[in-house]
Assembly symmetry: C2
Homo-oligomer: 215 residues x 2
Amino acid sequence: MITVALAKGALLKDSVSRFAKAGFDFSAVLEPSNRQLMVPSACGRANALLVRNGDVPVYVAYGQAQLGVVGFDVLSEHQMPVANLVDLCFGECHMAVAVKKTSSYKSAADLPAHCRVASKFTNCARRFFEELDLPVEMVHLTGSVELGPLTGMAEAIVDLVATGRTLRENGLIEIDHLFHSTARLIGNPLALRLDTGDIRLIVDAIKSQERKGSF
Amino acid sequence: MITVALAKGALLKDSVSRFAKAGFDFSAVLEPSNRQLMVPSACGRANALLVRNGDVPVYVAYGQAQLGVVGFDVLSEHQMPVANLVDLCFGECHMAVAVKKTSSYKSAADLPAHCRVASKFTNCARRFFEELDLPVEMVHLTGSVELGPLTGMAEAIVDLVATGRTLRENGLIEIDHLFHSTARLIGNPLALRLDTGDIRLIVDAIKSQERKGSF
């Protein structure tokens, strides 16, 4: 029995469609009435584990799920020991540094040393500013990071940007780019090593769709 | 101008009613149509900052809000430098250790050394097991912690319990108790020290309601 960890939210619909093309029908997880967190596939040969974004790499790293789908942003933030198998090319967004539109900073290197930077992705942000050799004070927030500069708590934020609407609506502007992010198929390294072929078949089926560009 | 950080979600309605009795009408934040994160009080003398639970102590610690309302569970987990001013006696719940109903463990001390414990509150959990002198491996999850024992990833969880329904529905049972939690009025220590009377008036008005037991 194969278990697949899927992230609730924005990535779920596309994740289900990728597994459908590989022969596993998890469409039951998309039913608005579904309250189950472990949902068997229509064929009964696999289970989907419905968890929060940040928990997908945890269940895969500990081997409770052999495969999972999660954004590169989460992988980059949590650095769990999982194999990054296939770039699924959906859920596109990027990690950016943003400041108030009225501020004079044109790039992250312009920010004053020891300024405050608010983020949900403090590990990514810390690495970025360390590479810039700019010491900053990280403020970890769990939501609505755009309030950081608006309340005057932080000079800048590091956050995921998809359409840019949240930044615009809050009078913020992007001044630097950390990395591009898309959804990834990830796997448990030990399960892949001990695999007798079942996991490889799924990974290959999903990989070949991406090559064919069937989405 | 006084700014009050309020937690979105379960504590919001009671938080608004406490401030109403102290003369500040923040009922606009309860409107289902409200999308604003900074909402002025009806009298215009104060602002409410609507943020996630875990971010309330951050805004208060950094002084962007002089006062805030948040659960003791969050204060205990994040240990930010804020003053714990008044026990507001609502939002009652407790932090507990739970295991599968079918397991043989009757208390946390029965758990095997080096077993895995899943939690959203890993700091609280770590302190509890250190005091027990029981080395455990903490697994940090961000949601649906009950899946930990169900998938076999963790022997036990440490989580907030209000009615106990989630535990029952998932075949889990409580075996130990960390602490009782209620909503607290918190303050920024420096703002309290520099206060010319405005903050003290609000704190006293809220404190006297609690003494009178008017709720």
